[in-house]
Amino acid sequence: MKPTLGLAGRALAFSAPLLFSLPAFAQEAAEAAAPVVDKGDVAWMMTATVLVMAMIVPGLALFYGGLVRTKNMLSVLTQIIAVASLAMLMWAIYGYTMAFGDGGNAFIAGFGKMFLSGITADSTAATFSDGFVIPEFVFISFQMTFSAITVALVIGGLVERIKFSAVMVFAVIWLTIVYYPIAHMVWATGGLIFEWGALDFAGGTVVHINAGVSALVGAIILGKRIGYQKEVMAPHSLTMTLVGTGLLWVGWFGFNAGSALEANGGAGLALINTFLATASAVLFWMLTERVLGHKSSLLGACSGAIAGLVAITPAAGNSGPMGAILLGLVAGILCCVFVMKIKAKLGIDESLDAFGIHAVGGIIGSILTAVTMLPSLGGPGGDDYAVGAQLIIQIQAVVVAIIWAAVGSAIAFTVAKVVTGLRVSEEVEREGLDLGEHGERAYNY
C-alpha cells in the first residue's frame, strides 16, 4: 500500500532539527524502500488517541461542568458528550476527507474519502520520518478526537443559557466551515498556512485560537447570563474542575506527544515540554494572583495548567525544555492578568474563559513558537534558523485563524439562532437547564 499522507518533500527528522508541523496531504512521489509500519508507533498513536478521548469525556466535561452552577451541570455534560459524538460521526462521513483527503485546494481537500471509502485496515498514513507509516485508521481516529475536542471547547463561552438544539446546529455548521478548512490550511500539504511554513505542532491555531475566538463570538451573540456580575455564580464543584484539569493534563500528553506521530525522541521532547510548560504556568498563575492582591487559589492553579498546556501546544516539539518553562511563565502570567483584570472590563460574559485561556494562550504560544525554536534557547531550530521571518509567518497564521474563526462562528451562531432561537427562556435559565432542557437533576443527595 502506498502511503496516503506525506510530507511534501520536507525532510523532518530529529537528528537534523527542523521546523515541525503535522504531516500533510498525500504525496505521489515514489519512495526508495517500501515504508514500514512500526508497531511501536502504532502502539503509541493508539494510546495517544485514547488519551485525547479522555480529555473530552470525562476531562473537559468535568472541567467545564465543575465551573457552572449545580442547576446547569448536566446541560454542560450533555452538550459536550453529544457534540463530541456528532463531531466523530461527521469526521468519518465528510470531515476527514475535507481536511486530509486527496486533492483539493489551499482551503479544503477533495471529497474522495467521504464515508472513509476505500480505506481498509491495511491503508497507511505517512509520519514525519521517511519510510515510516502508520495505519490510516489510527491517523483518522487521532485527528477525529482533535475535531471533537475543539468544537467542545467552544461551549465554554455559551454555558448556562444556550439551548441544547442550538449547540448541535452550531456544531454542524462550524465544523464544516471553520474547523475542517482551518485543519486543512494548517496541517495538510497544499494548505494555505502550511505552505507558508507556519509552525503548529499540535494545534495552537487549529484548536485553541479557533475555539477561543469562536467562544467569544458566541458569548457576544448570546448575551450575558441573567444576573451576570450581580448574583453569585461561584463554581458548584471545584473538585470536579480539578479532576477535569488532571485528566486534561494527562490526556494532553497524547495530544502533544501524539502529534509527533511516532514513538521517538521527538515525541519525548514534546512529552517533557508538556510537563514543564504546564508546571511553570501553574506556579506563575498562582504567583500572579498574589501579586494582584488575591490568595493563590486552586482555580488559579487549574487555570494556569490549562494556560500552560495551551501555550505549549504549538511549540511542543518546537522548543527545548527551558523554552517550555519560559512559555509557561509568560502564558501563566498573561492569561491570569487577562481573565482577572481585563475581561471584567470588556463586559462580555465569556463564561468559562475559553477565550481568555485558549485564545489568549494559543496566541501567546503560536507567536512565541518562533522564539522557542531558537537554538540559543535550547530550541530545535537549525543554525540558519531565521527567527524574524518565522515570527512574521506565525503572526500571519494567527491573524488568519482569528478572522476565519470569527467570521465562521458568527455565521454558525446566526444560523443556529434562526433555526432554534439559540437561548433558553428566562424561566428555564432561572430554574436551570438541567431540568428545563434535559428533565433531570445532577444530584439527589
Binding site: V232, M233, A234, H294, K295, S303, A344
Partner: protein, 112 residues
Amino acid sequence: MKLIIAIIKPFKLDPVREALSDIGVQGLTVTEVKGYGRQKGHTEVYRGAEYSVNMVPKLKLEIVAADDLAPRVVETISAAAATGSIGDGKIFTLDVGGAVRIRTGETDETAL
C-alpha cells in the same frame, strides 16, 4: 412548654449537646442554616469574579422543653456556646401549645 430556638456556631454543637444532656434535655433537632448579623461574611474570588458571601454557616437548634426547664436550657446553651467573639448567635423562646409523640400518641410534656 417552650420552643427554644438557638443559632450557634457549628463547632459548638458537641459541647452544647453534652451540656444539655447534663441538665436532662432528652431530645433536640438541628438544622444547618446560614445567617448574617453583626458578623460579616467573607469574599471569594473565582478567576477574577469576586463574590461577597454575607452569610455565615450556623446551626439552628430547636428544643421543646417544659416551662420550668426552659430557662435553664437557655442559660446552658448560652454558657456552652459562647466564645466571646462576634457571631456566637442568639437564643429565642416561643410558647408551644401542644406536643405529641408520634410513636405512642402521648401528649404534652410526657411527649418530650
